[in-house]
Amino acid sequence: MIDFGQALIFGLLIGGVYALMATGLTLTFGVMKIVNMAQGAFLITSTYLCFALWQHFGLDPVLAAFLVMLPMAALGLVVYKLVIERLERIDPGLTIVATFALALVAEAFLALLWGPDQRATDPAYSNKAFHLGQLVVPLAQFYACLLAVVLTVVLQVAIKRTWLGRAITAASENPEGARLVGIEPARVGAWLFAIATASTAFGGAALSFLYQFTPDTQDFWLGLTLSVVIVGGLGSVPGAFAAGVLLGVTESLTTTYLSVRWATAVPTLLILVVLTVRPQGLFTRMTRQDAGS
């Protein structure tokens, strides 16, 4: 029973982390219907940047994330202008291919700059834990989960309470109505993409102290964040949170009761199951527009 409880705790915390990683993708996928295959690469890039700040200045990764947000936002803007704006109109399939190519290029650059060795940051809390009765709650995961919750809340507030957030909601729901009040959907899209990319700074920071990373781990995180978004369905960031938790708990239980190695297959299996059974995702009420009749 302890085993189960422990697995559950791990699962919940990890689930929160997964939701954190997927936040940027949820925004672009849910609001703009863009599949950004560079999400994993953005995450890992943030990770390496946080790592560099840690290495040279001893800066705590979470604090570093605040700084890393800026170059990431710029990167997002460039990618949007150069790639997405051009291709979405012509052929959304090409956007996927192009962002994927981008991910590989990013991975290559990271490998050239930092080499293939495994890295990790090692802040003070990375090996500590506290206890809830007989259950162990690792501090690092806990902080990461907290970060996820805070980020989700901040983004939700931003969407509801700022002009930009409301303009984004308006433009994605009703582009013509938005144009009539002077909102330019393309500009708003660029902002959204920049924000989504900037938000990966936090996921990247968490990655740096939770896992060992190499440039090619972007592949794994891409698969995982895609899973969160597809399982959760289009729509709100909180929905993705629920999907992340589901994923985390499933993985944790699989690890405990089957094996660690099978756990890595969980994200993909969930994608396949969800698409077969309920293509619009588990946590949305609406049907996907593209679900055939």
């Binding site: 002009w163 729901e173 013509e176 109505g177 009539l180 002077g182 330019e184």
Partner: protein, 247 residues
């Protein structure tokens, strides 16, 4: 105030406006009527910038606005209330109205003041500011749309079929709102399907058919025209042709 000359516009190979000429006096309420496909809504869309005309000029208060972006046209004081989907269902009533002043979003105090002013005229703004716009009835939505249009203190308001989808009782609210705009000195150009209502409300009228203006005059003149229905029904009304081939 509004002068359209030689306006040609359309979508993807199809010309809807085929040379529209229209003059609207400042401060008047002008109603455009005509059968479907005549291009009435398209005229409004070219004025508000949603559709780029292929040719022609749109001069408003001395400035040619043809082909400019919707934001520029808003700055020039021209606001459109569209036929459908004017509001953002997920935003509250208050935010929807404030969105009307998106181009002036920096001036927070000013906007709040304006909102309160408008709440005097449109009570629903004060009664249900936090209701999601999607939960309102058709008549209530129209009211919110009108309030939103007024946020910018516009010179010109374009109304695209304001009575569409409304129950008869809501028509009084439309009438009152248009009269209020008129008394504020706003020039109102509206498209109306409900011809009698539109012509009763307006002082000037324009009849369009097949992408052109075919008749203009005062609202009374047009309303009293005996062959008005011909424009709608074509020559068929007077001939008894029915089906042309024997079975």
């Amino acid at each position: 105030m509004i002068h359209l000359e030689g306006l040609l516009a359309g979508y993807g190979g199809l010309d809807i406006l085929r040379g529209v000429e229209l003059h609207v006096e400042q401060g008047s309420v002008n109603c455009i009527v005509g059968p479907n496909g005549a291009g009435k809504s398209t005229v409004l869309k070219t004025i508000s910038g949603l559709l780029q005309p292929r040719q022609g000029s749109i001069v408003i208060d001395g400035v040619n606005l043809a082909g400019k972006s919707p934001a520029t046209i808003l700055h020039a004081g021209v606001v459109q209330v569209p036929q459908r989907n004017g509001l953002f269902a997920k935003l509250t009533v208050r935010h929807n109205v404030l969105m009307g002043a998106y181009i002036h979003r920096g001036r927070r105090k000013h906007l709040e003041q304006r909102y309160d002013e408008l709440a005097q005229r449109f009570p629903i703004l004060g009664e249900r500011p936090d209701a999601p716009a999607g939960s309102l009835s058709g008549g209530q939505r129209r009211t919110v749309e009108f309030a939103r249009a007024m946020m910018l203190n516009p010179k010109v308001v374009l109304l695209d079929e304001p009575t569409l989808g409304l129950d008869p009782l809501s028509l009084t609210t439309i009438r009152d709102s248009v009269r209020a705009m008129h008394s504020d000195g706003i020039t109102v150009l509206m498209v109306e399907q409900n011809v009698r209502f539109g012509l009763a409300l307006a002082d000037q009228a324009t009849v369009m058919s097949a992408g052109r203006v075919v008749l203009t005059g005062t609202a009374d003149e047009i309303r009293d025209k005996p062959d008005l229905m011909d424009v709608f029904f074509g020559a068929a009304r007077n001939s008894d042709s029915g089906a042309s081939t024997p079975t």
